[in-house]
């Protein structure tokens, strides 16, 4: 694997390039001394996501200041939470003084998906010391989780790579912190980019990650059920209930599908 290779080429050929290189070893444990190459690989994998992080960060920061956040409170919110969805909701519901219980409840509803995400990552973290696990989990936003899991799927037999996870995390976390702060400081320089389709970046990332997890049409049936139920519940109920409802329907389908195997 060439880490010194030209950046754009690496970006355009995607992460599958990495699996064909020397990274694919038959011995499962990540050897000592591979932290920094793995860290760089993580940073490179996360770079395309900045297309979405930059405009959304600016948008969130400028909206937060309009809603009464001070310039210091903006990076405090985005740095301590690091969960974009709940931060947009919090800014939308913000008042002075803030309704703390309401904000906590909405944050829990929106971020309850992290419980499931953490559960799927748990088996891969077993070999790490506890303090490390609790540190890593602080940064487990949707994108960090999804890229890490897709990477584990891509390299069967390989262990969870702390360096890779760290590289993605540092890149995305700093970007989110800096651009939400800048959005608050200078206002949103880009205007509302969602009008032009930039909001499609997030589903695009998720669809791409689903492709990485693809293991045949039969296994994809629970995904379809999950999507269908989530869309239905999204129409019928207010709030973020569609995430647990859709996932639950998907899990029940998975139970039925796997039983037949």
């Amino acid at each position: 694997m060439s880490l010194s290779g030209p950046f754009p080429r690496l970006l355009l050929t995607g992460r599958h390039d990495f699996t064909t290189g020397t990274m694919q070893t038959t011995s499962p444990p990540i050897r000592q001394g591979t932290f920094w190459p793995e860290f760089l690989r993580g940073m490179k994998t996360s770079l395309p996501l900045l297309i979405a992080f930059v405009p959304f960060g600016l948008l969130l920061g400028s909206r937060a200041v309009q809603k009464g956040f001070s310039i210091v409170e903006v990076p405090l919110l985005t740095g301590l939470n690091f969960a974009g969805g709940s931060e947009f909701a919090a800014v939308g519901l913000w008042s002075i003084p803030p309704a703390i219980l309401l904000l906590a409840g909405v944050t829990f509803l929106i971020n309850s998906r992290h419980i499931l995400m953490g559960a799927t990552l748990a088996p891969h973290l077993r070999h790490l010391p506890r303090w490390k696990i609790f540190l890593l989990l602080f940064f487990m936003c949707d994108e960090v989780w999804a890229l890490t899991l897709a990477d584990l799927h891509d390299r069967p037999g390989c262990r969870f790579s702390t360096g890779f996870y760290g590289g993605i995390t540092v890149c995305l976390y700093l970007c989110w912190l800096i651009f939400t702060f800048m959005g608050g400081y200078t206002g949103n320089l880009l205007g509302d980019m969602t009008r032009y389709g930039v909001d499609m970046a997030f589903p695009a990332v998720f669809i791409m990650l689903l492709k990485g997890m693809w293991k045949g049409a039969r296994n994809a049936l629970p995904w379809c059920v999950s999507l269908g139920v989530a869309v239905l519940v999204y129409h019928l109920l207010p709030g973020a209930w569609y995430v647990p409802a859709g996932t639950l329907a998907g899990i029940i389908t998975a139970l039925l599908v796997v039983r037949g195997a």
Binding site: S70, I100, T120, G197, M208, M213, V258
Partner: protein, 100 residues
């Protein structure tokens, strides 16, 4: 005063709630061994969470968004992440300009 106590309190409470959701999944499963069947199911669950999270994008009711999503899915079958994102963004932007 650049920091306000109620605001600071609200931010910290939200941060604690978020962190709790992040570690509880791990805490629930830590130290447990999964059967092969459970492992097969746990392989499918992440995808279920993913599609559920992006469900609102499928439910906007705007034809431009639905068509844009299908263009993105089509692009995803052929390209890697960056070209797929660009395809999705450009197609959706054009469709919204044309279809409203």
């Amino acid at each position: 005063m650049i920091l306000h106590l109620p605001a600071l309190l609200a931010i910290i409470v939200m941060a604690l709630v978020t962190y709790l959701t992040r570690i509880s999944g791990y805490l629930l499963l830590a130290g447990r061994c999964l059967s092969p069947r459970m492992q097969a199911i746990m392989d499918i669950v992440p995808g279920c969470v993913l599609v559920a999270v992006i469900a609102p994008d499928f439910a906007t009711g705007r034809p431009a968004d639905i068509l844009g999503l299908f263009a993105t899915i089509l692009a995803a079958t052929r390209f890697s992440l960056l070209p797929t994102m660009l395809c999705g963004i450009i197609t959706t932007g054009l469709l919204r300009a044309v279809l409203g």
